[in-house]
Symmetry: C2
Subunit: 202 residues, 2 copies
């Protein structure tokens, strides 16, 4: 990786950190892009070259997780039932979190606090989730050898899987460590698996 890419990644994280801190300090709405840019000494125009929008700052984790999930989905043996495969994908995200640097863990926890204090921001995440679901439904349909337009079940499978994930990540009132969150997520997965009729997703 060249010096250029390295520096780019560093400013990218600087922007993210500065923004998270500002948001938590003075609120999301009342923080302007100009302020964020000022904090990392770049022009507002440059900010938009790193993040397509102010909202995008909040979506970095979602994007990261989506990448891992899609990747996992493609690599998981195709004789596994779809929902099981999706739960594998979710667990892959958890593994990634477990192996993340302390700095990344900090960012994740800050993001969670932010979402807790500004519930309407959760909407941004689930909005992008709609996109993610469409992509996943295609993969699942391919797995099932069906046409996503005809096959309602593939959409339902994906929707249930993402619901499970979302519920698992939902903010418990007192925020814990990353490990606690991962444990909670595992419980939720178990709960979902218990709730579904065996073989429903075949």
């Amino acid at each position: 990786m060249g010096l250029r890419e390295l520096k780019k990644e560093r400013t990218r994280l600087s922007i993210l950190d500065a923004a998270l801190d500002l948001f938590l300090e003075q609120g999301y709405e009342s923080t302007t892009v100009e302020q964020i840019a000022g904090a990392v000494e770049i022009s507002p125009r440059t900010f938009f070259r790193y993040f397509t929008s102010k909202d995008h700052l909040v979506l970095w984790f979602h994007d990261h997780g989506e990448g891992i999930m899609l990747e996992t989905l493609r690599s998981v043996p195709s004789d596994e039932p779809p929902f099981t495969a999706l739960m594998h994908a979710v667990r892959a995200v958890l593994s990634d979190m477990q192996g993340s640097t302390p700095a990344d863990a900090q960012r994740f926890l800050k993001l969670r606090r932010l979402l807790e204090e500004h519930p309407h921001l959760v909407g941004l995440s689930v909005a992008r989730g709609a996109d993610t679901e469409r992509r996943m439904a295609e993969l699942i349909a391919a797995r099932r050898g069906t046409d996503p337009d005809q096959d309602q079940l593939c959409h339902l499978i994906v929707a249930f899987a993402m619901s499970t994930m979302r519920v698992g990540f939902e903010c418990p009132r007192r925020d814990g460590t990353v490990t606690e969150i991962i444990d909670r997520m595992r419980e939720t997965i178990a709960l979902a698996e218990r709730s579904l009729r065996p073989g429903w997703d075949l």
Copy 2:
């Protein structure tokens, strides 16, 4: 109802209709609020007194449906299992659609076409859905006599129910009549009920 409220409702619908037509004609992004306001001969400022934002135009159906669902949820006997109660609420929305005026049906179909052509607008709807889910989870928790912060299952129940609804309304490639959509939705409900383990939501 006074003359004032009547007139207000009429302009409200005029704005909505003009907007839907413009969106379908020339796209969502490339239609400005100024154009919409111009089409119904009001000032842009007044537009924002009828709809809190441009996006809000797309959410009128969601808001309407949410109202019906919450209302139904409160009136349904509390010895019914939560998921069953939620499916009743969904069916109440379908009944309302069945009894709607032709004009309303037209609006609904136009909205669907719009969402089909601009998938990213679906995000707006599911974003608001996150809000809706939180409110519903409280009702379900109350029903179950639990604290929504502790009880993961109540969130899962609501999330699964809303997923079912969303999948049911998802655009099939060729758009049909309102009746066809309602039938499709009923199938989806049946599919979801078949997928869940009996008694999972108790």
